[in-house]
Subunit: 500 residues, 2 copies
């Protein structure tokens, strides 16, 4: 298998954004490409959990290729619920490791904050088993039930559990306060944690990651760079709670970790730091156990001892984690890679006790039904290619799309038919027969427009154009009108000649 | 790059089905696995275009792994609109070609017929550019406009165009009449075609592929079998009609074909037959030109000359194509592979003029925005592994899931709490605080249930259970009830002892 290296990383700030999903994906991609020494990519792997329902978008891969001005090259979407970013990375890894592609772009993102919390919760809860969802189960409810069982199994008092979870939340919010891309950049106090509302006993608001917009990207290459992917693994688990064999750990993580460690020929003690999927604070504690960093039931001890703090022996979520960086679901698996690469390269705004060489990232899909583990390591660089992306992604061009949208509004009053049809089976809200034509206006701009008459439709025929509430309408010019206009034009040019 | 072989293929009948999407995917997967000599797979690649909106399903990959009783192994979903099946094949190809996996299962499917035609059309139309959709454009409308422009460019009279398209429809329906998996198995006459309703001029109902349910699957392996994938390529194109540089061919197909031919070191004349994406009859004509089988503008001549008929020199859509086999969008790209493999192996119910050794399949995503071309060839077999799937996929087990659903209804009246939470932030329609618990009943069956009281919740506590309209409810047994029951039990066992 060919070695796969990371050539560049980039992400948008996470939080509430006014950009569309495609704009977010484009921005993260541009940052990753500009961050690389690669000057062209062979394919684009795109992760998004549910753009169909969050933003009503279909055919995302083609849209993204077009937004990146890379139409023509292969683009596909990969989805495994909330671990989609990690899944796209793994598929892209196979694309390069096979020799089929040399350089590929991987982008993940989600647009969620424009919906109400209840609408977002409803969409997110669709990953849950139907019977359990019908009972009222949400993601926090299931996480809470796992936590209650964990507490019971390891004989942890309610008071101590609260201390441990509060410590995770405080640590990750403190870490996030140093991360310019994080959604929450304020440390939280013990009293703020304890006074936050109960979501599902024993979990409070500050035990849950937020609803976020954002995107993250990375460029993979078969050339040597200063970071290599040395291990990558995936595992699945039962969808429903009732079908599980255990309620205090996640076998899907354990399977993924085993594969990643075997592939990298490493053990947990060889890893210097980790980004662990902390969608809920207890998931960080359980994750560090499933990944083999701490013995089962001992994750809480490590948190209380400060082992997982930035200045501890084994920093976990030094970036702030999903908890304070934010959790745009399709982006999170790749954001972890972005953060880990920055730390390995020494680009982070903090220093660990010892210089890190090996990182592990861990992403959970659904309610731990589709999990990924990736190990990346520092390597010696040999890449020589030059980056030429600045010509496409100037800071001006990063906002070009939005401008182009506005430009669409200024439509010339006349044009001609490029092709047409009369639609007899129309979408809801449109009465048949509906004449449709692709019109090219005098400035060369094209638009699809509705006609008012099914007669006189012909390719090349001149039309009048107008726009009402975002929809274009055309009227075919009569022969009389066309002749009169030609005469007027002739007269004008005659006058013009006389004047000069 | 490692060679990738096809070890098995299978599909469900296409058409209207009472099975769920997951059941369809499971059935196709079972048929492909039973058709192979492979006894275990390392991963599952799943294609579906829009299960979120067609059937309200999320987290499909985890659900499918579970339905196949393969929970644990990697499973991911791939999506490129209506070419998703071909996209999953390509991603899986890379998984095996890289050496990362040895044997993988690829499944594609869609469940569409339960919705009204207008609802389905609306979901399918989401792949179209937003401005053009707002104007009333549907997939048939755009296909019609391409056809009108094609007719103009190549100076084809309306009457001749109608003859050509009718010929495509009649050929593919006649071919489908021999295919036991096809949705339509009746040949159609010229008068039936000509009297079918206009959908969008110049396209009639019989120019359009139907709305279908169905799934198709294949098993890929690094071991040698009697069919090898020798070329595979993908290309993207602009999403909107107005951004296109041409309206009489699809560059995304041309890019994909170039890559596939280069990889296979073959030219179009080396191919013996093809499955071409005939979502609309003119697409078959244009497809055969984009793929290099006929010169631009000459596709119609080949159809009229009978070249593409089953008994012609170059059979196209001998299976019936999307037109009569049906078009469950996520399945079509893989169904083409299933059909081509059957023909190459000599398992089809017809004979070509010459024995076929090389096939090409062509799948279109969206409005030709994300297209795939795959070349498969006969090879010498060396696979030795034994198939052991019959133990899992007996004909009885293929319907087990449905039975299991019914079994869920028979719930014992008592059980105990395995874990619980009190949900304070509830989904729409549920009032907080909502006590939820995972209950294990006396027969060992588990279910998630709603409580009636937030007090007395504790792991291990005994509860009464009842079911109302598919939702389970529990009531914690009081100490008094528990003691009384224990006493009753004691008395019963005492009586029992006395009798014996």
């Amino acid at each position: 298998m060919k070695a796969v290296h990371i050539a560049g990383v980039g992400m948008t700030p996470f939080g509430k954004s006014r950009s569309t999903l495609v704009e977010l994906l484009r921005e993260a991609a541009a940052r990753a490409l500009l961050n690389s020494k690669i000057h062209e990519v062979d394919a684009i792997y795109i992760a998004a959990m549910n753009p169909e329902e969050f933003t009503g978008e279909s055919n995302l891969a083609s849209h993204v290729a077009e937004a990146l001005e890379l139409t023509g090259i292969p683009a596909l979407r990969v989805e495994t619920a909330s671990s989609a970013g990690a899944a796209a990375l793994q598929a892209a890894f196979q694309g390069v490791a096979s020799g089929y592609y040399r350089h590929v772009l991987v982008i993940g993102g989600e647009k969620m904050t424009h919906l109400s919390t209840s609408a977002t919760t409803r969409i997110l809860a669709k990953v849950i088993d139907a019977q359990e969802r019908q009972c009222g189960a949400t993601m926090p409810a299931l996480a809470a039930m796992i936590t209650e069982r964990y507490r019971r199994k390891y004989h942890i008092s309610q008071a101590r559990l609260e201390r441990i979870l509060c410590r995770v939340a405080m640590k990750n919010h403190a870490n996030g306060s140093h991360n310019p891309y994080a959604q929450f950049r304020e440390p939280i106090s013990h009293s703020k944690y304890i006074s936050s509302k109960l979501i599902a006993t024993p979990l409070r608001l500050y035990d849950c990651s937020p609803i976020s917009d954002g995107a993250a990207a990375t460029v993979l290459t078969a050339e040597r760079t200063n970071v290599v992917i040395s291990g990558i693994g995936q595992g699945t688990g039962p969808v429903s709670l009732r079908a599980r064999s255990t309620f205090t750990c996640f076998p899907a993580t354990q399977i993924a970790a085993r594969k990643a460690y075997e592939m990298a020929a490493l053990s947990p003690r060889d890893i210097d730091f980790a980004e662990v999927h902390d969608a809920f604070t207890p998931f960080e504690m359980i994750g560090t156990e499933d990944l083999g960093f701490f013995a089962p039931g001992k994750g809480g001890d490590a948190i209380e001892a400060g082992t997982t703090a930035v200045d501890g022996d084994f920093p976990v979520n030094a970036s702030g984690g999903l908890k304070s960086r934010g959790h745009p679901v399709g982006a999170s698996g790749l954001a972890q890679i972005v953060e880990a690469v920055k730390i390995l390269r020494g680009d982070a705004q903090f220093k660990f006790k010892r210089e890190p060489r090996r990182a592990l990232t861990h992403s959970i899909g659904g309610f731990a039904t589709n999990n990924f583990v990736t190990i990346i390591e520092r390597a010696d660089e040999s890449v020589r290619a030059q980056n030429s992306w600045k010509s496409i992604f100037s800071s001006e061009s990063l906002h070009r799309q939005r401008k182009r949208k506005n430009a669409d509004g200024r439509v010339a009053a006349e044009g001609e038919i490029e092709t047409f049809t009369i639609l007899y089976t129309t979408p809801d809200g449109f009465l048949p027969p509906l004449p449709l034509a692709l019109i090219r206006d005098r400035r060369g701009m094209r638009m699809l427009a509705q006609g008012e008459d099914t007669q006189q439709l012909k390719i090349g025929r001149a039309v009048y154009l107008r726009q009402v509430a975002g929809t274009y309408y055309f009227t075919v010019k009569s022969h009389f009108q066309t002749v009169r206009e030609a005469l007027k034009q002739l007269l004008r040019s005659g006058r013009h000649r006389r004047k000069t």
